[in-house]
């Protein structure tokens, strides 16, 4: 019985290709949008974790006072609750940081570099306002930087990026629905005689709609599976940038499972769009 039910609609027609190619293309794009969303979430986490619970103290003072103020700062940090550890950066380490902008042949000895102290906070963190007041009293050249001014815009940018990628996914879903609806409408128009005969022999709208919807959904699912596979291959082939590839676009670990839901979602969109279109078209047939 199901064999005939599957065959009541002839398989030929351009609408089949439209569904297949449309679903494959949209799935391919959806994988990239999903990769962007996953990457944006990962970047937000990475940047947040890297910059949270850490701070930097920069001491700018005349050479004669630099050592004294450094010791004073370290003493303040040792006696401040919420500070887990602190370390004075070496001149070489400062040179490495500056070489990114000023080149490797930087004459560090000739430059009046400020002294930098790396600070690691506990989970609760210190009373930052109080710490700043104590530092200004003990070491007037010390400036406490808890990275807030860097962290906030980075997280905000990552959050917006994730929002945009989710919007892109929604748009892809909507466009897929429109493509399927147009294809279903075209398929039903080109099979008007088939629909007419089915109605004459007593077929209900649900039976006729199911015949079209099943075919549309299968084609969309197949196209989406192929598009997703190609998209995943393309994402996997993207060059990683950054030493640990944490900042690149793509999936990592279990997030590779995320694109596998794309064919299911595309098939779901196809089913709903085709069913709505088929039932609407059938209402105009006696």
């Amino acid at each position: 019985m199901s064999a005939i039910s599957d065959r009541v609609v002839p398989s030929s027609g351009h609408s089949g290709w439209l569904v297949w190619i449309g679903a494959a293309s949209m799935s391919f794009l959806a994988v990239f949008a999903l990769a962007l969303a996953v990457s944006a979430a990962r970047l937000a986490d990475t940047w947040s974790a890297a910059l949270a619970q850490s701070a930097t103290i920069r001491i700018s003072a005349p050479p004669a006072e630099l050592e004294g103020q450094t010791e004073a700062v370290l003493e303040v940090l040792r006696t401040t609750p919420g500070i887990r550890d602190a370390r004075v950066m070496t001149v070489e380490e400062q040179g490495q940081l500056l070489s990114v902008w000023l080149g490797p042949d930087l004459p560090l000895d000739a430059l009046p570099l400020p002294r930098m102290i790396e600070v690691w906070e506990t989970a609760d963190g210190p009373d930052r306002q109080g710490l700043r007041l104590r530092l200004s009293a003990e070491a007037p050249g010390a400036i406490y930087d808890d990275h807030t001014q860097w962290r906030r815009p980075l997280i905000s940018a990552a959050t917006r990026l994730r929002g945009l990628s989710v919007l892109a996914l929604l748009l892809i879903g909507g466009v897929t629905g429109v493509i399927i609806a147009l294809a279903a409408s075209a398929a039903m128009a080109s099979n008007a005689q088939v629909i007419h005969v089915l109605r004459l022999v007593g077929a209900r709208d649900r039976f006729i709609a199911r015949a079209f919807v099943r075919r549309m959904t299968r084609r969309a699912a197949l196209g989406a599976a192929i598009g997703t596979a190609l998209g995943m291959l393309a994402v996997a082939g993207l060059p990683a940038f950054g030493p640990e590839a944490t900042s690149g676009l793509g999936f990592q670990g279990l997030s590779w499972l995320a694109p596998l839901c794309v064919p299911v979602l595309i098939a779901g969109v196809a089913l709903l769009a085709a069913a709505a279109t088929a039932l609407k078209v059938l209402r105009g047939v006696t």
Binding site: I4, R7, V197, L200, R204, F207, L282
Partner: protein, 223 residues
Amino acid sequence: MIELQDVTHDYGGGALFENVTASLDPGSFHFLTGPSGAGKSTFLKLCYGELRPSRGSVAVGGSDLRAMSRDELAAMRGTIGVVHQDCQFLDHLDVRANVGLPLHATARPVADRDIEDLLSWVGLNAQADALPPTLSGGERQRAALARAVITAPRLLLADEPTGNLDWDMSQRLLSLMIELNRMGTTILIATHDMNLIRTAKSQVSSRVLRIAGRRLQSAGADL
């Protein structure tokens, strides 16, 4: 089984029928005749709901077609058999599938043996796997009749079912319809074949309706 009450049907250029009233009792056998273009096919289409009357009402099995929902109309069509003048097949399906289509479409059990028996009865065993476009006119009409009766319908409407058949095959199909009528099926055959009507009247109690001059008349012994 069929009740037409003051039915008028306009075709844009004027009324094809005016104030037609007719009643076909359950189990009755009727012929519908009249000149070409008189509206025999339209009359049948009104009876199974493909056309809606401009005025008046058509009821099948006591149910007014105007009051039926789409699903109810489909369910009604599933209980009747129709032989269309142009046969109305799904050309991409073979004859066997087309004959079984009313059962598939209405989710009723399909017995392959019944289909084969019916194809054998109408002499289409050899064409069971053929596609409709490859059949001759007569073969198409026989296949259409087989499809119309596969559901053992309570009402059979046939539009020129023997138009392309030779006399022997016409007799054979007429016998099938008479047999169905004896089992309780109401039969309405639109035809201009007077020989068929005379032959049928010699075998079964039947009435003849004639459409002429936009009116439906009951034909008498002048046949």
